[in-house]
Amino acid sequence: MIWSWIPGNGAMIWHLIWENAYLGVVPALIGLAISLPLGIAAARWRWFYPPVLTAVNVIYGIPGLALFIALIPALGLTDTNVIVALTLFSLCVIVPNVVGGLRAVPEPVRQAATAMGYGAVRRLVQVELPLAIPVIIAGLRVAVVSSISLASVGQLIGVSSLGYLFIDGLQRDFPTEIYVGLAAIILLALACDLVLVGIRRALTPWLRGQRQATRSVLVRALAPAGRP
């Protein structure tokens, strides 16, 4: 491990970190934006969810590299290619969590809201979604971390990310570069995860001091197949 290599190439490493961050975070956010209406609809109309879930499980089973390749004729070897693919995968993770989070709102709370005169939309926005935040953010965390990691595979089709450090390190037989790439991705993922945890804490003051029901069976059973 040659430590001096790092400061020497600081600019490049930093640039790649930002590239990777962009390729990881943007798809997750777009995925969230699409997942919310989709998930709300699936929670509201029970018949809608099973086909959505099946579609999600199938799409999530597609290996990432294969999806990048399949998008080449349409989107070329560009950032957009990777972002579209990763958005699709993010959807697969977040939609079940939106549905699960909304369904997990206790029935007495929902009933009390209706009985007090909340209309359906107001109830959704002021009661159900806020209570679903922890589960939704749990899904978002998985999406962000997975996307950051999978974005590095995009390097194989030439889309620039921290994966460059792996490819270059292999070609030059230079382990230091590979270690740096690994560390950078893991630290980046960790940093984003912590930011999201912070956001969750800020948005859920009522949970402070309460033991977080750890991203438990609910999230696990809902989060489909893992990602490379």
Partner: protein, 394 residues
């Protein structure tokens, strides 16, 4: 205030939850709907605020058909309290209470001020306002639920088994609180419970349901206990309804005996003398403050020197006392049963002995109360077998 006109609720699979119900809930009274599980009492309640829609019939609220009003608007005028409270976990206590006022467009400061007033009204420390529901005990959460229901000052309050999920001690306290609140607020309350004791305790009127969604009897608690319409009602109400009915009679206008009562400073000889004069076997010993200390059997005194102060003689406990003019005849009867002498000890508001009552004298008092009750229609019916109600053809 609330009128059910021939209301039926039939589900698509054929089950009839409520069958041709006619019921009148008078303004400012507490009407308790009670019955076995699945009898339709909760369905009835939830048709008032349209959480359930009737299949047939009309429900009038203040003369207006509830079907003609927009449901959300209707519900803002009706308070609703449920067993599991349904408090919003993500809002503070005061924001929970302020829910309907805020929905109605009040400014936040005004709504929160009202919330804090209501906290005091339901007997909670206003310091709890900024806490979250999960930080409160079950009993406190239920009180917040009631406060929330009262926030917009609705004329009607619906309560669905509100106290069933808390332990008996807390439940009793909350029931007392409800009765107290009602004397202050005089809302029209409809409360659903499966507990006949709760119904009798808090209700001005009790509607007892049969298992199949029809009413068996609608009456005051006294009349329900004293004059059950048939064997179903008397079975549901319970076998000791005679004694429980005594709760409704105040222990007043009683001829209390003042002999033999002796202060702890008097001598054994004096006590024995008092006992012989009144022909009794037991002497009530009082302290210097005239509060009761215990019963002493005459036999125990006979073997002692005549000048032994009563205070030094071991006395038997007296169970409990009843407060004259305040407690019920049931309390007096219970005091008599618990007393080794078979006499109930009556005390005044400060606990000082006024006199005592034997079983015979108590019986006379009960019969007197009964005659008065018969005069106003809540008296006893003879327990001759009643004809069974017509069973609906299957």
């Amino acid at each position: 205030m609330i009128t059910f006109q021939h209301v039926t609720k039939r589900y698509p699979d054929g089950t009839v939850a409520v069958d041709a119900l006619d019921l009148e809930v008078p303004t400012g009274k507490t009407m308790v709907l009670v019955g076995p599980s699945g009898c339709g009492k909760t369905t009835t309640l939830r048709m008032i605020n349209r959480l359930v829609e009737p299949t047939e019939g009309r429900i009038l609220l203040g003369g207006q058909d509830v079907q003609q009003v927009n449901p959300a608007q209707l519900r803002r005028r009706i308070g609703y309290v449920i067993q599991q409270t349904g408090l919003f976990p993500h809002r503070t206590v005061e924001d929970n209470i302020a829910t309907v006022p805020l929905l109605n467009g009040w400014r936040r400061a005004k709504a929160r001020a009202r919330a804090r007033d209501l906290l005091s009204l339901v007997g909670l420390d206003p310091a709890l306002a900024r806490r979250y529901p999960h930080q409160l005990s079950g009993g406190q959460q239920q009180r917040v639920g009631v406060a929330r229901a009262l926030a917009a000052d609705p004329p009607v309050l619906l309560m669905d088994e509100p106290f069933s999920a808390v332990d008996p001690l807390v439940r009793s306290t909350l029931q007392d609180e409800l009765v107290r609140l009602q004397t202050e607020l005089r809302k029209t309350v409809v409360l659903v419970t499966h507990d006949i004791e709760e119904a009798i305790k808090v209700g001005d009127l009790v509607a007892l349901y049969r298992p199949e969604g029809r009413l068996a009897q609608v009456d005051s608690p006294q009349r329900l206990l004293g004059a059950p319409a048939d064997s179903y009602v008397s079975d549901f109400v319970g076998f000791d309804r005679g004694i429980r009915r005594l709760s409704f009679f105040r222990a007043t206008g009683l001829n209390l005996r003042t002999e033999p009562i002796a202060g702890q400073d008097s001598t054994a000889a004096e006590a024995l003398g008092a006992a012989r004069r009144s022909g009794e076997q037991w002497i009530l010993v009082t302290g210097q403050d005239r509060k009761p200390r215990g019963w002493v059997p005459a036999g125990r005194l006979e073997s002692l020197p005549g000048d032994t102060p009563l205070g030094g003689v071991p006395a038997d406990g007296f169970g409990h006392t009843f407060t004259v003019d305040a407690d019920s005849l049931r309390a007096a009867l219970d005091a008599a049963v618990l007393s080794p002498a078979g006499h109930a000890v009556g005390v005044d508001g400060d606990g000082r002995v006024v006199g005592m009552l034997s079983y015979d004298e108590l019986r006379a008092a009960i019969q007197a109360a009964d005659s008065a009750a018969t005069a106003d229609g809540s008296g006893w019916e003879p327990s001759a077998p009643q004809p069974e109600p017509e069973r609906a053809a299957q």
